[in-house]
Assembly symmetry: C2
Homo-oligomer: 299 residues x 2
């Protein structure tokens, strides 16, 4: 197999995958895009496929940017059966957020077929995906990093490596989501309580963002709570999924993750209130609803 990348297939042209595929092409790399949705394929432009199974034939780097472990499993081993179309030595990079235990198992199964696995979750959002400056937190064989390097460099602003062991990349992403999810929910709890106490929310924002109480999530998301916007940048359902993975993993490890478990309940309540596809900051409305106060934008 050639040492250069002759064919890269990106499956999942969503908010992140589309920008990653475009960043790869901008770097002159040969990318085939795959998505079931015609409008996402059109957004990337040829060559594209609706079927991963057809696209993947002879690829030397397959990048999965799909929603969850179930979709990864189906694409690789299920009805799509992509692993059948990959030659030994090909690289499978999974950038979906999946449980560390799933990643470890996947690493073992891919190794049996002599496929190289990059356990490579991502963060950074749509804009940075488009710019080729996302964060990739990855573990995997040295050979996979070496060969995928031009692609990784085209997509990432920060590439953090966590050794060779499958599961370590996903473990790092899990820790990231503990902090992102709970910090956001904490910001929501604080803002709803501030409203209950009759404070001016804009003034609270000014105090907190200059204080030791600040967080990236508070600073980035609370303007939505103050202005009453709920158009999603990232949805409540994303944290239902990711804090769900945290809770499952923590339970498996016999690790009582009290705050993560509590924050998950609040995101679940937001989804239960019909806010699942709204901006994740609308978790503040769970607190407001239960406390009988109105935040901006609430009926």
């Amino acid at each position: 197999m050639s040492e250069t990348l002759e064919k890269i297939v990106v499956v999942g042209l969503g908010a992140m995958g589309l920008g990653m595929a475009r960043s790869l092409r901008r770097a002159g790399l040969p990318v085939v895009g795959v998505d079931l949705r015609a409008e996402r394929r059109e957004a990337l432009g040829d060559p594209v496929h609706a079927s991963a199974q057809e696209a993947v034939e002879g690829a030397d780097l397959l990048i999965l940017v799909v929603v969850n472990a179930a979709q990864v499993e189906s694409l690789l081993f299920g009805s799509d059966g992509c692993v059948e179309g990959l030659a030994p030595g090909a690289i499978v990079m999974v950038s979906s957020t999946v449980p560390p235990s799933y990643a470890r198992d996947l690493g073992r199964r891919l190794a049996e077929r002599e496929l190289l696995y990059l356990d490579a979750p991502i963060s950074g959002g749509e804009k940075r995906a488009e710019e080729g400056s996302i964060t990739i937190m990855a573990s995997g064989p040295e050979a996979a990093f070496a060969r995928a390097r031009p692609a990784l460099e085209a997509m990432a602003g920060h590439l953090f490596r966590f050794g060779e062991e499958a599961g370590k990349g996903s473990s790092m992403k899990l820790i990231n989501q503990v902090l992102a999810g709970v910090n956001l929910c904490t910001a929501a709890e604080a803002m709803a309580l501030a409203q209950r106490l009759g404070l001016d929310l804009q003034q609270v924002y000014e105090v907190i963002t200059t204080s030791a109480a600040n967080s990236w999530m508070f600073e980035n998301r609370m303007p939505y709570v103050i202005s009453g916007q709920s158009e999603p940048r990232s949805t409540v359902e994303i944290f239902v999924k990711d804090l769900g993975i945290v809770s499952d993993a923590a339970r498996e490890l016999r690790f009582p993750a009290a705050l993560s478990a509590t924050a998950l309940q609040q995101f679940l309540a937001a989804a239960g209130l019909g806010l699942g596809e709204r901006d994740d900051s609308t978790v503040a409305r769970v607190y407001a609803t239960l406390a009988g106060v109105k935040l901006p934008g609430m009926e």
Copy 2:
């Protein structure tokens, strides 16, 4: 009564009060310091008193920087009975963290005696107190702000005003402590879980501090967890107290503050493990203890 400040009394020469008193003197203001502990009085230097009651006679600005509402109450109305020594028009500035409902009640009682109340909690830590650059979040009568202004400017880097109503300053401080306390506990939960997952903690620190998962508390406190230090900058007991105030206030307001309540339990557990006077970041050891893993510095 004169419009200039002829006599300022600072009660409580602890980590914050000592620096505040020194900052006032550096600005040329006439300060009498009060503390029961001889070594704290010596740290400030004359004029100082052991008894607040004796010191307060004829003061036009009394600043309380004591531990909690019980001490405030005892100093003002209890055995010390400081209010008896204050003439109408004198200002009582309370910088201790107290429940908003206590602050509201105190405002009413001081107004009955024609004393001006500044509900003025502080943040920023010992170093900024020494430099005269703490944050003061205050509510109170316009006349009190006007007259106390040279003193406020000598002590504060940021002065945030929340109108005239007693309780608003303390409400803002309460929101600050929700975020500071829960963000710290979340950082602790994430780091202990990272240890359980076998990640390199220094590498986790590097990833998180460049990501949307970052918080001021994570960035500032987690180096202690990584290096295993436990010498207190601020203690576990401070958050036992402050998240206790949050939980009491939220219960009174019928506001279910799920994360604050959960974080309080973790700080209580830290105190229960004998870590009450250790650095507040040692709350991470609660998680590690319960999950059967060792963090740096643990036996």
